[in-house]
């Protein structure tokens, strides 16, 4: 049976390794499709998808919208800044109003962790989590693993370090779950103030020295420092953060192997990663973006196939 075990994609935590395998195999086919002269298939022509973004996004929103359009779905977009949310409407009311216009699937980004789970329990539509607070960002983790699989052949047995602001990162949490499901070894690295307490209970290695972390890993996933989520000072200055946790050419050259560099974007050039590294062949940042469309097509296609006609 090639079917997902879930009806919504709320987080990687709900998936099993067969689901991930199926998503990757389906994404392989869609990657071929989006490299054709005509990049569109008609599968979802009778499906309507609402993109609800209660928080800013460029890449993820564009990527989802493109994936939906490549599958021929009808798309409606919504962003909180221009909506009745400001007038005091509740989340369920907002979504139910949208669903009463016959929408089959909802892609949602929300600043509150668990907003998608809550929604999935109260509305009758397939929900895809496009990031909920500092909780999960499942499609990002899937495309990260997919990009590792593409570059290194497989994910199993690889050493992956996630560097930076782990505390405020939904990408980190989803990545940890996804990588562990596929049998990779995961390490987190960053200043102690940006590492969540008890993160080691998830079975990840914890390191505060970037050089040691890079020596251990095959892949380094560099995260952005999320200044907008910081309610206090977590490190003395950006300059000091860069000195301790920024990846630059000299540091990479000092390693005895060539590691793969990833970044979920948006990049703060010169902070967590220097321009020459970000633009080098070692970095697969733009591949990640391209794979993002294929992965999202796969997720939408597989979830849509569970919506009964």
């Amino acid at each position: 049976m090639s079917e997902l075990s879930v009806n919504h994609l709320l987080g990687i935590k709900d998936l099993n390794s067969r689901d991930i395998q199926l998503i990757f195999e389906t994404a392989d086919h869609f990657k071929e499709v989006i490299n054709r002269p005509i990049k569109k298939v008609p599968s979802l022509r009778d499906i309507t998808i609402a993109n609800l973004f209660f928080e800013n996004s460029t890449r993820t929103k564009l990527s989802f919208e493109l994936a939906e359009k490549r599958l021929s779905a009808d798309v409606i977009n919504f962003s909180a800044s221009q909506s009745s949310v400001k007038k005091g409407e509740t989340l369920i009311d907002t979504v139910n109003n949208i669903l009463s216009m016959k929408v089959d699937m909802v892609v949602m980004r929300h600043p509150n962790p668990g907003a998608c789970v809550f929604l999935s329990q109260h509305v009758n539509a397939s929900i895809i989590n496009a990031g909920d607070g500092a909780h999960e960002h499942p499609t990002q983790a899937l495309l990260d693993s997919y990009s590792i699989r593409e570059r290194l052949g497989k994910v199993q047995g690889k050493n992956v370090v996630i560097v930076g602001d782990i505390l405020h990162s939904r990408v980190a949490l989803s990545n940890i779950f996804a990588l562990q499901l596929q049998g990779a070894n995961v390490m987190v690295c960053g200043p102690k103030t940006l590492l969540p307490k008890y993160i080691d209970k998830l079975g990840v290695k914890v390191e505060t020295n970037l050089k040691k972390a890079l020596e251990w890993c095959d892949v380094a996933n560099m995260l952005r420092v999320q200044n907008e989520r910081m309610d206090m000072t977590y490190f003395p200055s950006t300059r000091e953060y860069t000195q301790q946790y920024g990846v630059n050419r000299a540091l990479l050259n000092s390693l005895d192997k060539e590691i793969t560099i990833m970044h979920p974007g948006p990049i703060n050039r010169g902070v967590e990663i220097t321009s020459d590294v970000a633009d080098s062949k070692q970095a697969i940042i733009l591949e990640q973006v391209q794979n993002g469309v294929a992965i999202r097509m796969a997720v939408i296609y597989l979830l849509a196939s569970k919506i009964k006609h």
Partner: protein, 179 residues
């Protein structure tokens, strides 16, 4: 379940050679013709025909592609089983080419309808023909007929035509299966 042998290996071989000759009659040296096997089952027939054309009729240049129609089917979300995709391998543009679609069994015609849409992603062909080993006539849902057919079969709807290939199923044979 009972099954009746419709074609044995020898008969299939004769039919494949006849189909190859009919293709040559129309397409000469295949300089502007491409063969497209419809995934998943048309692949074997397409490979076999290309091999016969090359080795026995000395056609040097044959372009062969495989087309997956999963994302173009009209029964998405309508069946019990989820649709499983296969690979598409078309490493050329079909703009202004003469295409021969190749599939093992022509039944309702819906696969071919999907293939006609799917191939548009690779350009605007000059002409499209259809070659099929088994033509189950009287069971079409759409106005689609083959240009080259191996054998016509009259089967009632609950019967199934099963095509085995040496490379997939262990023998060359066509059976009529009654469930």
């Amino acid at each position: 379940m009972s099954q009746k042998l419709l074609l044995n290996a020898k008969e299939i071989n004769i039919i494949l050679h006849r189909l190859a000759c009919q293709l040559i009659e129309k397409h000469n040296d295949f300089s502007n013709t491409v063969l497209i096997g419809i995934q998943p089952r048309g692949k074997f027939l397409a490979n076999r025909l290309a091999q016969i054309l090359k080795s026995e009729y000395h056609i040097k240049h044959i372009q062969l592609g495989l087309l997956d129609i999963t994302f173009f089917r009209d029964d998405f979300r309508r069946g019990e089983k989820p649709l499983e995709a296969n690979t598409t391998e078309i490493n050329f543009l079909v703009e202004d080419k003469n295409i021969v679609f190749i599939d093992d069994v022509l039944y309702t015609g819906r696969s071919i309808r999907a293939a006609l849409t799917a191939i548009q992603s690779f350009g605007r062909p000059n002409e499209i023909e259809l070659l099929t080993l088994i033509d189950r006539r009287f069971s079409r849902h759409l106005p689609i007929q083959p240009d080259y057919r191996g054998r016509q079969v009259d089967a009632i709807n609950k019967e199934k035509v099963k095509v085995n290939w040496l490379e997939h199923g262990g023998e060359d044979a066509v059976y009529l299966v009654n469930n």
